[in-house]
C-alpha cells in the first residue's frame, strides 16, 4: 500500500501548553482516514500543521515524501483542503472564486473548472455572488476549490458541519467516490461518530492532543468484546457481584438489569456466578455496540476521563 501522508512524531506547543503531543500516523492511497476526537482535541490544529498553516514545535510531516517544512511547494501541490469553514470571497461569484484559486496552481483549464463545478453540483448557481449562497452551497464550493488541481490528498476539516442529512450524505458519497475512483487519500475530521462510521476505512482517535487509537473501521466498531445486557431481579446486587469479578469493567444499570462489555467466552462464567449468588436471571442478550459506545469507551479508558 502506498503511504501518501506521514505524520512523524509531531508535537505542537503554544505558549507553554502542549496542544499536540507526539502524534504519528500514516494515510494511504485510496483510503478514507477518519480523524475523530471531542471538541478541542486538536484535530484542526493537526490539519493546520499538515497543510503548513502553522509550524510544528518538533517532528515532521511528509507528503509524498516531501517535508511540508522544507519543501512546502512540492508537498502542498498534492493537497487540496478545507480548514474549518470554507470561507470564500463573498463579494465575488463562486466562479470568480474558483478562477482565483485556479490561477494559483499550474495548468488548470476552464474545462477543468467547469468539470469540477459539475461534479459538486453547483452549475446552476456558480455565477451568483457567494454571499447569496446557503451553507450547503458554500461547502460545495469549498469542495470544488480543493479538487481543482486534482490533488492526491484531500483534507476536510468537519466537512459536514451544519449540513442537513441530505447534505451530509452527499459529502459522504463524494468522499467515498474520490477515494475509490480517483485513488485519493482522504483525511476527514469530525466529532460526529455516526457519520464517520459510514465514511471511513480507518479511524484515528485523538484526545487532548494525543493519538490514542488507530484501527480499521470494522475492527473498531466490533472490538473483540460485545455488550451484553442481563435481565435480573436485584440489579444492584448483580452489579456488585460482577464488579467483584471484573473490577475494570464498566457495568451499567439498565431498566431491567445490568449491561456490561464482555468477551463471548466469559458469558457462561458470569451467569454461573450470578446463579450461585442467588440472583434471578430472566434473560441474556447481546446489544450491538455502536461507534458511540466504542468511542466513549476508548476515550475514557486511555484518556483517563470519567464518563457516566
Amino acid at each position: 500500500m502506498d503511504t501518501l501522508v506521514e505524520i512523524q512524531n509531531v508535537t505542537k506547543t503554544i505558549k507553554g501548553r502542549t496542544i499536540i503531543d507526539s502524534l504519528s500516523f500514516n494515510v494511504n492511497k485510496g483510503e478514507v482516514f477518519g480523524f475523530l476526537g471531542p471538541n478541542g482535541a486538536g484535530k484542526t490544529t493537526t490539519i493546520r500543521m499538515i497543510v503548513g498553516l502553522i509550524g510544528m514545535t518538533s517532528g515532521d510531516i511528509k507528503i509524498l515524501g516531501h517535508s511540508i517544512k522544507t519543501e512546502f511547494e512540492q508537498a502542498i501541490k498534492h493537497v487540496g483542503g478545507i480548514v474549518e469553514n470554507p470561507e470564500m470571497y463573498k463579494f465575488m461569484s463562486g466562479y470568480q472564486n474558483l478562477v482565483h484559486y485556479a490561477r494559483m496552481s499550474q495548468g488548470i483549464t476552464k474545462e477543468k473548472i467547469a468539470e469540477t463545478v459539475e461534479f459538486v453540483g453547483l452549475t446552476d448557481r456558480i455565477h451568483d455572488k457567494v454571499k447569496t449562497y446557503s451553507l450547503g452551497m458554500r461547502q460545495r464550493l469549498g469542495l470544488a476549490q480543493c479538487l481543482l488541481h486534482d490533488p492526491k490528498i484531500l483534507i476536510l476539516d468537519e466537512p459536514t458541519n451544519g449540513l442537513d442529512p441530505a447534505g451530509i450524505r452527499e459529502i459522504r458519497d463524494h468522499v467515498r467516490k474520490l477515494a475509490r475512483e480517483k485513488d485519493m487519500a482522504v483525511i476527514v475530521s469530525s466529532h460526529l461518530l455516526s457519520e464517520m462510521e459510514m465514511m471511513c476505512d480507518r479511524i484515528g482517535i485523538i484526545q487532548q492532543g494525543k493519538l490514542i487509537d488507530v484501527q480499521l473501521m470494522t475492527d473498531f466498531v466490533q472490538g473483540n468484546e460485545k455488550i451484553y445486557e442481563i435481565e435480573v431481579e436485584g440489579k444492584e446486587a448483580a452489579s456488585r457481584i460482577v464488579k467483584d469479578m471484573y473490577p475494570d469493567s464498566r457495568v451499567q444499570l439498565t431498566e431491567n438489569g445490568i449491561a456490561l462489555p464482555l468477551k463471548k467466552e466469559k458469558v457462561p462464567e458470569v451467569i454461573k456466578r450470578l446463579v450461585n449468588q442467588d440472583i434471578q436471571i430472566y434473560g441474556v442478550k447481546e446489544v450491538a455496540k455502536t461507534l458511540e459506545d466504542r468511542f466513549l469507551e476508548v476515550t475514557s479508558q486511555k484518556g483517563g476521563l470519567i464518563h457516566d
Partner: protein, 319 residues
C-alpha cells in the same frame, strides 16, 4: 507573479468600496473645477501693464525685511524670500508677466494637492490587502497553494503600488481633461520658473508637473508601505488605517515641532519624505541634504518591508 497580481487586482475591483473611492476622487475634482470656473468668470485676469513696477516694489520690501531682521529671520522664511526675489527679477529681465491666464496648467497645479486624497485611498487599500484576508478567513485557502508566502506578500505589495499609480493616473488624466474643457490650453506655452541653488531656470510646465507629482507621491508611497507593514505584521486593518492616516495628517507637523528643539528629528521619516523641500524651500532641519533624505527613505522602506515579510512568513495562521 502576474497571475497573483491579477488576483489581487480582481479582489480590489470586485468591491463596491473601490468604486466609491474613485467616484469621490472624481467628484472632488469636478467640484474644484466648477468652483474655480465660477470664480474665474467673475473677474478675468487683471491686465496690469504695470506689473514690472509691482514686482520691483515687492522685491524691495522683501529685501528690506531681510536686511532689517538679519539673523533673527527663520531659515525657511529667508529662503522663500530669496526665492521670490530671484524669480521676480527673472520675470522682469525676461519680460514674463506673472499675470498668466488661468489654464489647464493652473488647474493641474491646484489639483495636485489632491495627491493626498489619492494617497489616502491607497493607504486604505494597503491597510486592508493582508488584514482582510485574515478577517474573511480566506487566508487559510490562500496560503495552502504551491506558492511561497513571500511571493504572495510581494504580489500584494506590488498591487498596492499599482493601485497607487492607478489613482495618480486617474487624478492626472481626469484633471487634464477637465482643465482643458473648463479652462482651455494656453496660447503660448508658459514656462515654469524653477529656483534651485540660487539660480532660476525655465522648465516646461508638463515636466514640472510630472516632477511634482513624482516627488509628492514619495510621501504617499511611504505611508502606504507603512500601512502595508502594519497590515501584514499585525493583521489589523483598523490599526493600519488609523495610524497611517494620523501620521499622514500630523506626521509633518509633529516632526516640525520636534525639529524646533531637537536635531535628531532629521532621522524621523516625515522629515525626509517631502523632497520638494530641497527644490522649493528649506530643509526641515538645517544641514539635511537631498542625499541624506533619500538614504533615510530607503532605510525606512527596507525596514518596513523586512518587518512585513519576516512576520508574515513566520506567523502561525490560526484565523
Amino acid at each position: 507573479m502576474i497571475k497573483l497580481i491579477q488576483n489581487e487586482w480582481m479582489k480590489i475591483f470586485k468591491r463596491t468600496g473601490t468604486y466609491v473611492m474613485i467616484g469621490l476622487l472624481l467628484f472632488v475634482l469636478i467640484v474644484m473645477g466648477g468652483f474655480i470656473k465660477y470664480q474665474d468668470s467673475k473677474g478675468s485676469v487683471p491686465d496690469n501693464s504695470e506689473w514690472k513696477k509691482g514686482l520691483q516694489v515687492q522685491n524691495e520690501s522683501y529685501q528690506k525685511e531681510l536686511t532689517e531682521m538679519g539673523d533673527a529671520i527663520p531659515q525657511e522664511v529667508k529662503i522663500s524670500y530669496e526665492r521670490e526675489i530671484a524669480i521676480n527679477k527673472y520675470r522682469i529681465e525676461n519680460d514674463l508677466s506673472p499675470n498668466e491666464e488661468y489654464t489647464v496648467w493652473g488647474f493641474l497645479t491646484d489639483t495636485s494637492q489632491m495627491i493626498e486624497f489619492a494617497g489616502l485611498f491607497t493607504i486604505i487599500i494597503a491597510a486592508g490587502i493582508v488584514a482582510s484576508e485574515f478577517n474573511w478567513g480566506t487566508i487559510k485557502l490562500l496560503l495552502i497553494r504551491p506558492i511561497k508566502r513571500g511571493k504572495i506578500l510581494a504580489a500584494k505589495y506590488l498591487t498596492v503600488l499599482l493601485f497607487g499609480l492607478f489613482m495618480l493616473f486617474i487624478l492626472f488624466a481626469f484633471s487634464s481633461i477637465l482643465g482643458m474643457v473648463l479652462f482651455g490650453f494656453p496660447n503660448d506655452p508658459v514656462p515654469y520658473l524653477n529656483y534651485y541653488n540660487g539660480t532660476v531656470t525655465e522648465q516646461s510646465m508638463l515636466l514640472h508637473l510630472i516632477n511634482y507629482f513624482g516627488l509628492k507621491s514619495i510621501n504617499m508611497i511611504m505611508l502606504a508601505t507603512m500601512a502595508f507593514m502594519i497590515s501584514a505584521a499585525f493583521r489589523n486593518s483598523s490599526l493600519a488605517i488609523g495610524l497611517s492616516l494620523f501620521l499622514m495628517f500630523m506626521g509633518g507637523q509633529l516632526t516640525r515641532l520636534i525639529a524646533i528643539k531637537y536635531e535628531w528629528a532629521k532621522y524621523i521619516l516625515f522629515a525626509n519624505t517631502d523632497l520638494l523641500q530641497y527644490f522649493e524651500g528649506a530643509p526641515m532641519v538645517k544641514g539635511m541634504t537631498l542625499g541624506f533624505s533619500v538614504t533615510m527613505i530607503i532605510v525606512y522602506f527596507l525596514l518596513f518591508q523586512a518587518i512585513a515579510f519576516y512576520v508574515f512568513k513566520k506567523r502561525d495562521v490560526a484565523a
